[in-house]
């Protein structure tokens, strides 16, 4: 259909938006790379100078950096595990015909619409607070000492909060996948002598594999950069117990005013995210093809 001529015209016409988007991406990236090679502290703006890889050396040898990488991975893996297992179970439940199905489904999806800062604050003050929290009250009700979630198990607390937010997303995607399973396949498996567990293992789970992959991909992208939940609950602490890469970069830039160091951290985070993305895409490419 398209001639040589119209193709050239098309390129010309999309050029402005492509150029704009490219600049939008490349200018901040280039500036970040540039700053990462400088001594650039907001408290001493006059001392800006080129220091080569020193920022990277400091950032990469900082003990907080390794803690942050580990925490980032734990958040991603922990939240993925909770949301996928929980999402499958919830989806299986919601797939059953029941009274008030529409309202129940709406309620299940609701947490996804609550802002991260708000939900984190609700969890912090109403559930996990060792004095006034609901969880503490429950523990006291059965005679246990209340557990101080944010002080003693801060990373787990963050994982729980983030998982609560992402569970609806996983449930929703898995539920729609579940509903697309051909009823006759289930019945055929039933006639073939497969019990409920075998049907789940051999029919339902393989059918869900694509949806699970999609959930993993999308959630990983967002979970690598969890920030608001940490900021309003633990502030990365105690120590660096709940600091992830995103929070470490923030702390470097806006708590220590070290723009150079934060830029180096940012670039490291970009590289790490790309490594994760590379493996994810390979895994997903395989699943989505098959």
């Amino acid at each position: 259909m398209s001639t040589q001529h119209s193709r050239a015209a098309a390129r010309l016409l999309v050029a402005p938006s492509v150029v704009l988007l490219f600049l939008w991406m490349i200018v901040p990236l280039a500036l970040t790379v540039w700053f990462s090679f400088e001594r650039f502290n907001l408290l001493m703006p006059a001392t800006r100078e080129w220091i080569g890889l020193t920022n990277y050396r400091f950032f990469l040898t900082d003990p907080a950096f390794f803690a942050a990488i580990l925490n980032t991975l734990l958040i991603v893996v922990g939240v993925l595990a909770i949301t996928i297992v929980g999402g499958i179970l919830l989806a299986l439940l919601l797939d059953r015909p029941m009274f008030g199905q529409g309202i129940v489904r709406l309620l299940v999806i609701a947490p996804f619409f609550v802002m991260p800062t708000v939900s984190a604050l609700v969890w912090k003050n109403m559930f996990m607070n060792p004095v006034n929290g609901l969880l503490a009250w429950l523990q006291k009700a059965v005679g246990m000492a209340p557990h101080d979630w944010l002080a003693t198990t801060p990373l787990f607390a963050v994982i729980v909060i983030v998982a609560w937010q992402w569970l609806p997303f996983a449930t929703l995607i898995l539920l729609t996948a579940l509903q697309s399973l051909d009823e006759e396949q289930r019945e055929a498996a039933e006639l073939d002598g497969a019990g409920a567990i075998a049907r789940f293992r051999f029919i339902v789970l393989p059918h869900l594999s694509r949806a699970i992959t999609v959930v993993i991909l999308i959630q990983t992208i967002f979970l690598l950069s969890v920030f608001a939940e940490i900021l309003v609950t633990t502030n990365g602490g105690p120590g660096t117990d709940s600091t992830n890469i995103a929070f470490l970069v923030y702390a470097q830039a806006l708590l220590q005013f070290d723009v150079g160091g934060a830029s180096a951290g940012g670039i490291v985070a970009v590289v790490l995210a790309n490594i994760v993305a590379f493996f994810l895409m390979r895994m997903i490419g395989r699943t989505l093809e098959g």
Partner: protein
Amino acid sequence: MGSIVLRQVEKVFGDVTVIPPIDLEIADGEFAVFVGPSGCGKSTLLRLIAGLEDATAGTISIDGRDATDLAPAKRGLSMVFQSYALYPHMSVRSNIAFPLKMAGLAQADIDAKVKAAAETLNLGDYLDRKPKQLSGGQRQRVAIGRAIVREPSAFLFDEPLSNLDAALRVQMRLEISQLHQKLKTTMVYVTHDQVEAMTMADKIVVLNKGRIEQVGSPLELYRRPANRFVAGFIGSPKMNFVGGAIAAAHGAATIGIRPENLAVSRDAGDWLGTIVVAEHLGSDTFLHIATDAAGTLTIRVSGEVPVHHGDRVFVTPDASALHRFDDKGIAIR
């Protein structure tokens, strides 16, 4: 081995009675076909036998033992679905092996049985493919393969050929008939296509609105339909029905005449009419003739007849082959 007996089986969904109490016996080794228009309850009846639906009342015995409350897998039946219901993520081999694997057979036994089934169905070259890499006819065969490895006491088919094109349908029809000859296992087959019913069945069960209209061999139903519904449903082209004074002259509310029991003549006959459409098939000619006395009739003439649209011709029924029905549509014998 594979007899199926239904006693007063009833199915009610909410307050809709899909199947009023039904009695039916299918003998061992018989090829029984449930036929009827869509929504007549034939699939529901099959699913009741399979155990995929629970009977509201009545008993179902399979193989002489009461199976009414038995789980589907315990009934010793296997089923071929309309959509084939192959497991898309498994290879043909795993699909066929699945029921054996669920039954906990040893791997060597499974391999041997899958191989035998694949040979029976000419699937040997496709065992490692996924269902989506197969054509419709091949998928159909895999579904049948998955059914036969279990060596069930009876096969259930739920409109298995309706997703195939016309040529393939005729071929698969033949293959299923041959399979029945070879295995001699009871088969229950659901279809809305009376040609499939006529060509394959030992026993046809004609259903309408959940009720059994008539049970019998194909030719029995063809020659002695119990009522107007069966008469109109079995046979292609459809039987002609004539009412009014002509029927009254035969002592009936309606008379039915098969298209092949009408003769056409240019010179003399009972009813004069105009040819509306002439369908020349080579072996047969179907004439749709608007008669002045008896309405529009379909006539089947063997071979080629030199008539065309608009010709005036005489139509004469074969008086010995008339079917007479009373005002309730029941055959008068």
